[in-house]
């Protein structure tokens, strides 16, 4: 692939509409979701640090708001992992494999 005759293929592929669409599909899903889960995580951390009156309130028996928020972090983590898996397998895997085959053909493999 360091063969000079094939060096153009990477930029060619990078500029192709198929690749641009694949990149858009990946980034428009992964980036906002990353910002969202980090914001939600830091909201949780900041609430446990600064909103003690709120998080110490009992919800059910001895279980307080802090526990519910903490358990929700587990729930959202599992849900986000599942959402990403669903998005990748339905929207990313097929175009990504098609592009890979095309590039490797171009590289002479």
């Amino acid at each position: 692939m360091s063969d000079p005759q094939h060096d153009g293929i990477w930029e060619e592929t990078q500029n192709s509409p198929e690749f641009k669409e694949l990149k858009r599909r990946f980034r428009s899903f992964a980036f906002p979701l990353t910002i969202a889960f980090l914001a939600w995580y830091f909201l949780y951390v900041i609430l446990t640090a600064f909103a003690r009156d709120f998080v110490n309130q009992p919800v059910l028996g001895n279980i307080n708001v802090a526990f519910v928020l903490g358990l929700l972090q587990f729930v959202t983590t599992f849900i986000i992992a599942w959402l990403y898996e669903r998005h990748s397998s339905s929207k990313l895997d097929a175009p990504s494999e098609a592009l890979r085959d095309k590039v490797e053909k171009g590289l002479g493999k």
Partner: protein, 592 residues
Amino acid sequence: MSHTLLSTILFLIFVALTLVLVIRASRSNKQSSDFFDGGASFSGFQNGLAIAGDYMSAASFLGIAGTIALFGYDGFLYSIGFLVAWLVALLLIAEPLRNSGRFTMGDVLAFRMRQRPVRTASATSTVVVSIFYLLAQMVGAGALVSLLLGITDPVAKNWIIAGVGVLMILYVTIGGMKGTTYVQIVKAFLLMIGATLMTVLVLWHFNFNVSDLLGAAVKNSGNASLLNPGQKFGKDVLDAAGNPDIFHSIVSKLDLISLGLALVLGTAGLPHILIRFYTVPTAKAARKSVNWAIGNIGFFYLMTIALGFGAAALVDRVSLLRGFKVDATGCFIDANGKAIADASGTCFNADSLATMGADLKKLLVPVDLSGNVAAPQLAEFLGGGSGSTGGAVMLAIIGAIAFATILAVVAGLTLASSSSFAHDLYANVIKRGTATPEQEVRVAKIAAIAIGAVAIVLAIAAQTLNVAFLVAIAFAIAASGNLPAVLYSLYWKRFNTRGAVWAIYGGLISALILLFFSPVVTGTPTSLIPLVGDAPRWDLFPLQNPGIVSIPLGFIAGWLGTITSNERNVQKYAELEVRSLTGAAIGKAVQH
């Protein structure tokens, strides 16, 4: 049969079993590169278990359960940070890393850069992070063994640490990545079974009513606030007059946020975790392995609630806390420094601890707040209590699993740092890419022996250091020095050699400097250099965890280095971007 003997036998069975696996794995290695990536032949499920085995260290199993047992809710914060962190790896790192690298973190960082400076920086950071992490695990092993096996003789303890070191060197040099992976899979399996067993027994004890478990934990601990955040992190500090001390409260809360930042961003910068993504053949398998890991790790961290609060509720407080404050004559003292004595005025000491009444025991002031033995003690209780056969069996099983846990993690760390030494420093910096694969593997094996030896010596010298402190350093450095460089490499077109070098050293050095000037090193009674009498202090930086400052500094340094350098690498970035999203030419070295 005593639990000591049983524990030793179970552990030896584990060692024998894993050594057989490792030797068999070494026979199936087809080419020399298998040493680094296990032939990239594992399935997503296998690698998911191995990631869990590589990630859940002594700090997770013993440390979190112990922190919850002693400080309640705050220990749970670790569990949450350690889990949520996996989303960074899943969404941004695992797949592009698998697609564009081969053996080390440096492969991706140096992809489109000048090789020598970037690989040198990457190897430095890999070895520094791994050594701190290694030290934590080996010091933990020493502490665990002395508590479980009743070995207090310092010489015997040193031999145990050396033994752990020799075993990890054997695993890595014989089995390489494949062998190490099998050890981690077996360990993950055992840890999950052991933790599930204990969790079911704890919940059974409370008729599967979690609220009752929490209530019993509050009652047994005598701490009404055990279920509220703020017992350990982000404290509401009072001044001498009993009024709220706004400044110190804010500092403490910033420290909590700083810890949260280091935990959630550190994982995706840990070299021994990153190289696990190379053991599967495709990005899809890398994604599946992270999903399996999230499932396993999440389930395990949920169980830490039952383990930690179970220990708080069921284990006798005095045995949970082990050591207590004493005066010059060896008598236990209360919080006011007054000797604790019976009605006749005879004070209690370590020998008469068992005869103390429950009321007097409440006055004891614990000095060892690590809580590292909470989980094994809970196991003993669940088996039937101290002195019972069931208790001895449970203690032995959980002790052996804890030891297996440590062993699997140290093997992964040794592999990561020796791979980086051989592949980044030797092959690409010293030999400038002319080393043969056989030479590379030979250097990696020698490096594994050398790193193992260094870790043994340092761990023996560092036995008094706090395990959590060492792990916190590793996470903070990984988040500050590695993560910004990895993210910029994968996603920022303009990023270049100077940016990568500045990002790594900027984050690494600022984290280390801030730690040096933090209360972790001097200025408090629990510092590395404890504040007693006129001990020197230079705690100019008020936070225990440097992340909130050093992580942004890593990002800023990387940005600044990039924009002040004219180097452009548009073509190479095109290759990186296409490869990272499509997996074209996967596993092939980039030639320069």
